[in-house]
Symmetry: C2
């Protein structure tokens, strides 16, 4: 591939080398419960089996797999976190079962094929980080024809929302621009240089930053003001990289709240642990990052804001075209084109709009 | 050199491609006044001369050089900021004099040698970013034997300080560790994994982050509690990369304040614009980042904290060994070894101590 390993490490992997960051994931109870239950309520998938943990981090999923009775677990980790994973495996007396391998999944080789691939590969809004590519690569090379994927399925959701962030971000942007105009005057007065030609590029840079970059947020269910739609479904056993390069969807949503405002859209995901059709889970487990009143996940939701917000009311219909692509500069970041048409309950059609967003 | 260009761009140059970041530097009045005065009060160095601006950023120094009467200015910039610099040059009607060249200084070639090299290459505590390497490279290849350097001299300073940050950072560290112990218990109870083997590496990681990483700070002169010492002097016309790889100094400092505490050390720098011995400045200009009551610079000072602080009083003497090296992982970051011996005014010698710090 055309990705420079060193650059990818500097931009992406580096954060995972900190225990602090692993701890944040290990402290996410929703995440932990889902993986824990998926393993221990489906021990038949692990007992006496060989398992591959793609991106083992601290080693937690590998350790659970071993505790659930796996014969052998290969725990692959690209960063130096692998050393901590080894220590943790040893301290929990599992070094006979779990073999930690430092290296990137794409580069290393295993001595055998495996029955199970387990991985926690999900980034913000599922696909940010593009780590599922590495899981696909692992699956195509190392999963037995009868093997199962943990998780087995994934979905992306989008819904209309209201949020105070719209005003806040617009304010931030406007303050930054006011400040720019002062700066421009000062620079002309004190230093004899006319900066006005940079006003447009500066405002574009700041618009991108404040208005077009999606935000991490922990939405309350009350902030979701219309029906949510699935924009992508992934079968982890069969998906190809080609299938996830783009997420393209046209969907409708109905506003379910009286007299409110459409501040933008929220995006989240869920994954399921269902095993394989011929070898299903005994207990299907779901991990969802949808808005909930309590106990959010560390993924939160991604919020795409409209400026200004639009008044809508119950029964209004949205027709949305959603297109998410990888950023050309960094394949682990995303760009979203969203267009939306609002048909009021009365039948009146509002002018359609088109927005570009960045998931950074 | 062994530095991967792509990695260096991802880690270092990328921030300079934002107008927001350039604007921060352009809004630093102390910095701007110093360069502005150094040029316009020494026009004889610029009138009819050829100038090279190493790392032109927005183009400001190149534009001033042209406004001061330069015949030709080469303005070299590694990032896409070069496009904004070109636009700014044109908008200020200087495109006949200023030629913006996009590329890194090490790679590009000029059609002629120059009379003046001007550059704002100073990072936190002078040498962070290691950008002076590029100025040296430019000088050795492109400066005429009679040429002058802007700035011409640079110095690094260290002084004993008091600061409330010591307690704050120690608290932060202790809270993080309390949280770790809770996390460890929860993980054992809920998920059956004993994390205690990671306590030591986690605490080391957090100690490095909270206690050993030097801090940006805008110190008030009252916080300087003893005499300041120069730990490095650089003659920009003759310095070699070899000379700046390490900064090694043994110095003494006397506490000048009654009954206070030594919280650590502050580091800052100054540079001077003196021209060249045979072709001196008409007005010598100084740019200092020393603590001052008002109008700090964006560089502030770097603070190296001791935990816990040590009670000292007027007349106590410090003997300090200071060694700063480049980090092995990233040549633009620094590591500091500092050892200190305190001789109280009474003659009593306190036990010496040894600290390691990171300038990240
Ligand atoms: N291609 C690849 N090869 C090996 N490790 C990878 C990888 N891509 C990502 N990773 C690693 O995968 C981990 C994802 S975070 C999940 C960590 C752990 N499985 C847990 O559930 O807590 C990170 O530690 C990251 O460094
Ligand atoms: N080796 C190199 N070649 C070209 N540009 C470099 C460089 N090393 C650093 N730079 C650039 O040097 C600039 C330093 S910041 C100073 C910008 C401008 N001269 C001003 O005074 O406002 C950055 O824009 C950075 O991208």
């Amino acid at each position: 591939s055309s990705v420079d390993k060193g650059v990818d490490f500097a931009n992406y992997f580096c954060t995972y080398a900190f225990l602090y960051h692993q701890k944040e994931m290990l402290s996410d109870r929703v995440r932990m419960d889902a993986y824990f239950n998926s393993i221990f309520q489906n021990k038949h998938h692990f007992q006496g089996k060989t398992v591959l943990d793609v991106g083992t981090g601290s080693g937690i999923l590998a350790i659970w797999s071993a505790q659930a009775g796996a014969r052998k677990v290969y725990a692959v980790e690209a960063t130096k976190m692998s050393e901590h994973a080894s220590a943790l495996v040893k301290a929990n007396n599992l070094e006979d079962v779990v073999e930690v391998i430092e290296g990137s999944m794409e580069d290393i080789t295993l001595p055998e094929k495996v029955d199970v691939i387990i991985s926690e590969w999900m980034g913000y809004f599922l696909l940010r980080e593009s780590m599922f590519d590495s899981v696909i690569c692992a699956r195509d090379r190392w999963l037995k024809p009868t093997g199962v994927m943990y998780p087995s399925h994934a979905r992306m959701w989008v819904a209309p929302i209201r949020s105070g962030l719209t005003d806040q971000k617009l304010n931030d942007y406007e303050e930054t621009m006011d400040d720019w105009y002062n700066f421009m005057n000062d620079t002309k007065t004190n230093y004899g240089v006319d900066m006005s030609v940079l006003t447009k590029p500066f405002s574009e840079e700041q618009k991108k930053y404040y208005l077009q970059t999606s935000l991490w947020s922990n939405l309350h269910p009350h902030q979701v003001i219309g029906t949510a739609a699935v924009v992508k479904e992934i079968n982890c056993l069969t998906a190809t990289v080609n299938e996830i390069l783009e997420v393209k969807s046209s969907f409708s949503s109905s506003i379910t709240l009286e007299n409110t405002r459409l501040s933008g859209f929220g995006g989240w995901f869920d994954v399921h642990f269902r095993g394989r059709r011929e070898d299903p889970a005994q207990q299907e487990i779901e991990l969802t990052t949808a808005p909930r009143p309590d106990n959010g996940t560390h993924w939160g939701q991604q919020v795409f804001l409209l400026h200004p917000p639009i008044r809508v009311s119950v029964g209004d219909g949205l027709n949305v075209s959603f297109l998410m692509k990888r950023s050309k500069e960094n394949h682990r970041l995303m760009e979203v084109d969203l267009s939306c048409e609002i048909k009021e309950y009365s039948g009146k059609l509002l002018p359609a709009f088109n927005k570009k967003f960045y998931i950074e």
